[in-house]
């Protein structure tokens, strides 16, 4: 009996000490939810975690909304989860960022995390607008802005147009009519203007006049209808390679022997996707001569647009508040880090003065044949407007691309494709109608 009492006392002591300890300092495990390793590689490169911190990257791919499902489950269990299992930080994408902004699951960057207005003053306004809730509270930050352009093969430009420098190529591609004309010329040389169905999608979807969903009703926007008309025309004329987005064929089009003239994309697309596709030997260093790497150029293309963007949010209930705040501040507000990210990964980072300075500097990107493309993105970046965002954007984008692929392939009529699209969105979101 005595032994038992002693044991009990000892247990109580240990427990109370543990309780004091945890109240004093923060948790030792940092859980970060994301859908790929883009942010992870940047953090590991430019941020040093304090001694004794275990960083847990919980990565779920975003296809079919799988990432949101995993994240939502974790967030809803946040209140009852063990301190070390709680979500501390999570990433959201432009297509569904809105879903998390106006909720209690995200923390106020200023009041809760202790960042100042001055810290975020240099960021592109749209990156803050999208993360500001209905009460005007800022809920997340991004290290990047995502103005896009047309990334083309210089050797094919030379072959088709007789010029290869970005400003000269841009003259041939400055509106859609000219773009079509070049596509027809490319076809004569056996080159596809675009890789496939979804490549030009963001040029149109980012310039929509209405949101995807208005008051619970799914809307057909004229910009999307223009994308459908254009892509059908390109498919029938043989101006694209009939690939779906992120398919092996789409990537294969960018290799040395690939026959694709160019891709639409923002800065992250260049480094995170395209550069990898161009390599013949992915284990060899990325350099000129390895596949088509380094033989590309960047021009503004027919229309300004943005694509994607990743925001970092602090999860309510985190037990690592100071660490989360410091990580966010370093990765999104620290001008030096943001400049280093541009140099290392070619991102267009979220800092107006830094980008303006770098656009005027001798910064060059080897993948783009030594071009300083930042200048071409500057104006575009200021014009990005994400006011049309809804939480349904990812479902709508995914479903319309799937449904319309059948139309482009000639499997269904346009009306059938729209019906398939509506059916698909509505079974995913029962609160919507058309």
């Amino acid at each position: 009996m005595k032994k038992l009492v002693a044991l009990l006392l000892a247990a109580i002591m240990v427990l109370s000490m543990a309780a004091i300890a945890s109240a004093d300092e923060e948790g030792k495990v940092l859980n970060i939810y994301c859908w790929n390793d883009e942010f992870k590689t940047r953090v590991e490169k430019f941020y040093t975690f304090p001694e004794g911190i275990t960083v847990n990257w919980v990565i779920t791919p975003s296809d079919n909304g799988a990432y949101q499902l995993a994240l939502d489950d974790a967030l809803k269990a946040q209140a009852t989860a063990d301190a070390d299992k709680k979500v501390d930080m999570f990433l959201v994408e432009a297509d569904y960022a809105v879903k998390y902004v106006d909720t209690a699951y995200t923390l106020d960057v200023i009041a809760d995390l202790g960042l100042t207005e001055a810290d975020v003053a240099d960021m592109y306004q749209y990156t803050k607008d999208i993360m500001t809730d209905s009460n005007g509270i800022l809920k997340g930050l991004s290290w990047q802005a995502c103005p896009g352009g047309f990334i083309y093969r210089r050797d094919y430009a030379q072959e088709i147009l007789g010029v290869s420098e970005p400003d000269q190529v841009q003259e041939y591609l400055s509106d859609w009519d000219k773009f079509d004309a070049v596509a027809a010329q490319a076809k004569e040389k056996g080159i596809f203007m675009l890789s496939g169905y979804d490549d030009a999608y963001r040029c149109f979807s980012d310039n929509m006049e209405t949101p995807w969903v208005v008051d619970g009703v799914i809307v057909k926007d004229p910009a999307i209808e223009a994308w459908i008309t254009m892509t059908k025309k390109y498919t029938e004329n043989g101006w694209n390679n009939k690939a779906n987005l992120w398919s092996p064929e789409s990537g294969a089009g960018a290799t040395k022997d690939g026959k694709v003239f160019g891709y639409f994309g923002p800065a992250w697309f260049i480094d995170f996707c395209l550069a990898g596709w161009t390599l013949d030997d992915s284990s060899a260093p990325a350099a000129l001569g390895n596949g088509s790497w380094g033989e590309w150029g960047f021009c503004e293309g027919p229309v300004g647009f943005s694509w994607g963007g990743t925001w970092v949010c602090a999860a309510a209930g985190t037990d690592n508040l100071t660490l989360v705040a410091d990580l966010m501040k370093t990765m999104t507000c620290n001008k030096d880090v943001l400049v280093d990210i541009v140099k290392e990964y070619g991102d267009f980072t979220n800092n107006v003065p830094a980008m303006t300075e770098m656009a005027a500097s001798d910064f060059s990107n080897a993948f783009l044949g030594g071009q300083n493309y930042l200048g071409l993105m500057l104006k575009n970046a200021q014009n990005i407007n994400r006011a049309q965002s809804t939480m349904y954007d990812q479902a709508c984008s995914e479903c319309i691309q799937n449904a319309m692929a059948d139309y482009y392939n000639g499997v269904v009529s346009l009306d059938e494709a729209w019906d398939n699209y509506f059916a698909n969105v509505e079974e995913r979101h029962p609160d919507l109608t058309h």
């Binding site: 879903k99 698909n424 079974e427």
Partner: protein
């Protein structure tokens, strides 16, 4: 035995039947927790409007049969049922034919095939691969720029965009299901064939029957119960077809939602917005369909033996000894 000791003896007689019940407890506990309660829950949920809109929950609100009405009027369930059925039949027909052939060959006393263990292992192997990795493999193999298409082009047949057209996609799903399950069916049928009395084969050979005749007159009729079992389990599995087409088409059921199975539809209800109401209603409908189909098939395939039994009874009544 004296009369005095009798009560004592009575007391000593022990009933072991309670042990039977005790040993059944683990099964029933597992059954109640993992089958009965979820089943009841599914029925219950199907009468509610209950889903997530973004991060907020809608419901549960009791709405009676509205989910069912919606499924039958607006959700074109017939299309997805037909898709499922077509892909299942496309896979099942070759599966039963090939399995039957292999089972008969492997058990044939005259052929005496060597290395049976090896072959059985090999044909069973695809079943051990996860359906998802199998589907991923096929997705890469049969993609527009994949190895199969290069092969077809080299052979001069020309490219076929398998995943763009319904016959290609459905064919691939059926082919995968066939490859995954024919080994399993073969082994089942073999055990059935081996259960047939060899004396029957010997007798028929003495009477001059050839292989074809013994197959149709002896093997097939006596294999009927095992075939019924195979058909029913395969049908239930087929109705629940999900992983292969889901991975192959990345959940979209393309082209034109022609490879979208009922369970993929169910997954769409649950996958984004936790729509337990519609999901529950669809599950209940599937439960009923499965039950009816199983009953029909079972009755059809066992009709003969039931009729035989009846006949036997009638004859016995009439005083004829069989």
């Amino acid at each position: 035995m004296s009369a005095v000791s009798q009560p004592a003896l009575k007391r000593k007689s022990i009933s072991y039947s309670k042990w039977g019940y005790i040993f059944l407890i683990p099964f029933f506990t597992a059954f109640i927790i993992f089958t009965l309660i979820p089943l009841a829950n599914t029925f219950y949920n199907s009468f509610f409007e209950n889903y997530a809109k973004g991060l907020e929950d809608v419901g549960p609100n009791y709405i009676g049969f509205q989910n069912y009405v919606k499924i039958f009027t607006k959700e074109s369930l017939d299309k997805y049922l037909l898709n499922t059925l077509i892909m299942w039949i496309l896979g099942f027909v070759p599966q039963i034919v090939v399995s039957l052939l292999l089972a008969v060959w492997f058990t044939d006393l005259n052929l005496k095939i060597k290395g049976q263990g090896f072959f059985k292992t090999v044909i069973y192997m695809p079943n051990l691969i996860m359906a998802s990795s199998f589907a991923m493999l096929f997705f890469v193999l049969f993609s527009d720029a994949g190895p199969i298409n290069s092969l077809l082009e080299t052979l001069g047949i020309g490219k076929y965009r398998f995943l763009t057209y319904a016959p290609g996609t459905r064919g691939l799903v059926a082919l995968m299901n066939f490859m995954m399950w024919f080994g399993n069916t073969t082994i089942l049928l073999m055990s059935g064939v081996m259960g047939i009395d060899t004396a029957l084969y010997e007798a028929s050979q003495i009477d001059g029957a050839n292989g074809w005749q013994t197959f149709w007159r002896i093997t097939i009729p006596l294999l009927r119960p095992i075939m019924a079992y195979t058909l029913i389990t395969s049908m239930i599995g087929g109705l629940q077809m999900f992983d292969v087409p889901q991975i192959l088409t990345k959940g979209s059921g393309t082209p034109n939602r022609m490879s979208m199975t009922v369970i993929m539809k169910l997954n769409n209800y649950l996958g984004t917005s936790y729509n337990y109401g519609m999901g529950g209603a669809l599950s209940v409908i599937m439960f009923v369909i499965t039950a009816i189909l199983s009953l029909l098939v079972f009755r059809a395939l066992t009709r003969e033996s039931r009729e035989n039994a009846k006949q036997r009874k009638a004859l016995a009544k009439g005083g004829v000894r069989l």
